[in-house]
Symmetry: C2
Subunit: 208 residues, 2 copies
C-alpha cells in the first residue's frame, strides 16, 4: 500500500515529534545501523503504523531528511535576517535558535551530520550534502555581513571569527552534556553563562 505521509502530518504535534525523535535517534549512526524495531519501540507505536505512514525504511529516512533539512534551512534563513553587524549579537541570536531546535529535536544535528558522513550507504544523500554546504555558506555569509572593524586591528578577523564561533558551539555542547533536564532554571543559567562568555569575547576581541 502507498505510504500515507499526509496522515502523519495530521497527527498531534506531540506524537509526531515523538516519532521523529525516535527516528533521528536511531538513524544518527547511519542508515544501515538503524533498526525500525528500535524506532517503534522508542516512539511507542506499532510496527504497522510506521510502515503505514512511510511505506519503507528508506521512505522514512527520506522524509526525515527532507523534514530536518527544511527546518534547518528556514532556521538559517532566519539567522541571516537577524545577522547583526555586531557578530557577537549574531552569535547570541544563533545560539538561542539552536537551543530551541535542540530542545525540540535533541538528535537533529547528530542526524544531519551522520547523513553527511555515511552518505555512501544512503540512497538519497544529496539532500544532506546540500544542507551542509548551505551550513558553511551561512557561516561565510554571517562573516561577510558582520562588521570586522569592531575587531582589534592587530588580529586576523577570519581566525577571530572562527575562534568565537567554535567557543560558543563548544560551550553549548558542554552545557548540554551537563544538563540532564532543561527546566526553566537551567535555561536561565544557560542564558546567563552564555552572556558571560560572550562578554569575555567582547572584552578581548573587540577594540578596547
Amino acid at each position: 500500500m502507498t505510504p500515507k505521509t499526509a496522515k502523519f502530518h495530521d497527527l498531534p504535534t506531540l506524537k509526531r515529534d515523538k516519532i521523529l525523535n525516535a527516528a533521528m535517534k536511531e538513524f544518527r549512526y547511519g542508515y544501515k545501523k538503524a533498526s525500525t524495531d528500535a524506532i517503534v519501540r522508542n516512539a511507542a507505536i506499532s510496527k504497522g503504523l510506521l510502515f503505514f505512514y512511510f511505506g519503507t525504511k528508506q521512505g522514512l529516512y527520506e522524509f526525515l531528511l527532507n523534514y530536518t533539512t527544511n527546518l534547518l534551512r528556514s532556521d538559517y534563513f532566519e539567522m541571516l535576517n537577524l545577522a547583526h553587524r555586531d557578530i557577537l549579537e549574531g552569535f547570541w541570536q544563533m545560539s538561542l535558535l539552536k537551543r530551541d531546535i535542540s530542545y525540540r529535536y535533541p538528535y537533529i544535528y547528530d542526524f544531519i551530520k551522520s547523513a553527511d558522513i555515511h552518505r555512501a550507504d544512503i540512497p538519497t544523500a544529496e539532500i544532506a550534502q546540500n544542507l551542509l554546504q548551505r551550513q558553511t555558506t551561512v557561516l561565510t555569509e554571517l562573516y561577510n555581513a558582520c562588521d570586522i572593524s569592531l575587531f582589534r586591528p592587530d588580529i586576523d578577523p577570519q581566525k577571530t571569527f572562527n575562534l568565537i564561533y567554535w567557543s560558543i558551539d563548544a560551550f553549548m555542547d558542554d552545557f548540554d552534556s551537563k544538563t540532564p533536564n532543561w527546566d526553566n532554571e537551567n535555561y536561565d543559567r544557560f542564558l546567563q553563562e552564555l552572556r558571560e562568555y560572550l562578554d569575555i569575547c567582547k572584552k578581548c576581541f573587540y577594540k578596547n
Copy 2:
C-alpha cells in the same frame, strides 16, 4: 579455547594497529551495534583469527577498553609533566600529543566517548567511566598548575581557560575533518595555523 592475547601482542605493530583501528571504528557507535564481521573485513583478517586472539566479542571489547585507557592515561600523565605555568604552552604540547595519538588511532576518542555514552549496554563500563573522570581531572589539574596571573585581570580565569581549551579542541576537529591525508605538508600547515590561533589567544587573553 582460551583467548591468546599474548599472541596478539607479538604481532607486528602494523597488523596489530590495523586490527585495533578496525575494532575502534566499529565499536565507536556502541557495543551492540558493532559487528565482528565488519571488524575482520576492515582489518583484513579471518574471523577465526579474531576469536583466536580475543575469545569473544566481549573479550575484544574489554581488551580494547583497557588498551585505549592505558594509552590515554599515560598520555595524560605526560601532559601533566609538560604542564607549563603558561597554559598556552601547555595546550600547545597537549595538541601535539593529541595529534600524534589521533594519527595512529583515528577513532580512539570517538571510541572512548561512546564507551561512556553507551555504558548501559556494555558489560564492563567502569573502565571507561574512570578514564573520563580522569580526563576532567586532568583538565582541572592543568588549570590548577597554570599561572592565571598571566591572564588579563578583568576576565574570569576559569571561563577564559575553558574558552581557550574549547577553541583549540574545535580547531583540531575542524582541521581534521578538512584533511583527507596527513602528509608532512598538511602537518606543517596544522602546526602553523595552530600557532597562529594560540598567538591570537595570547594577544587577547593575556596581560598587555
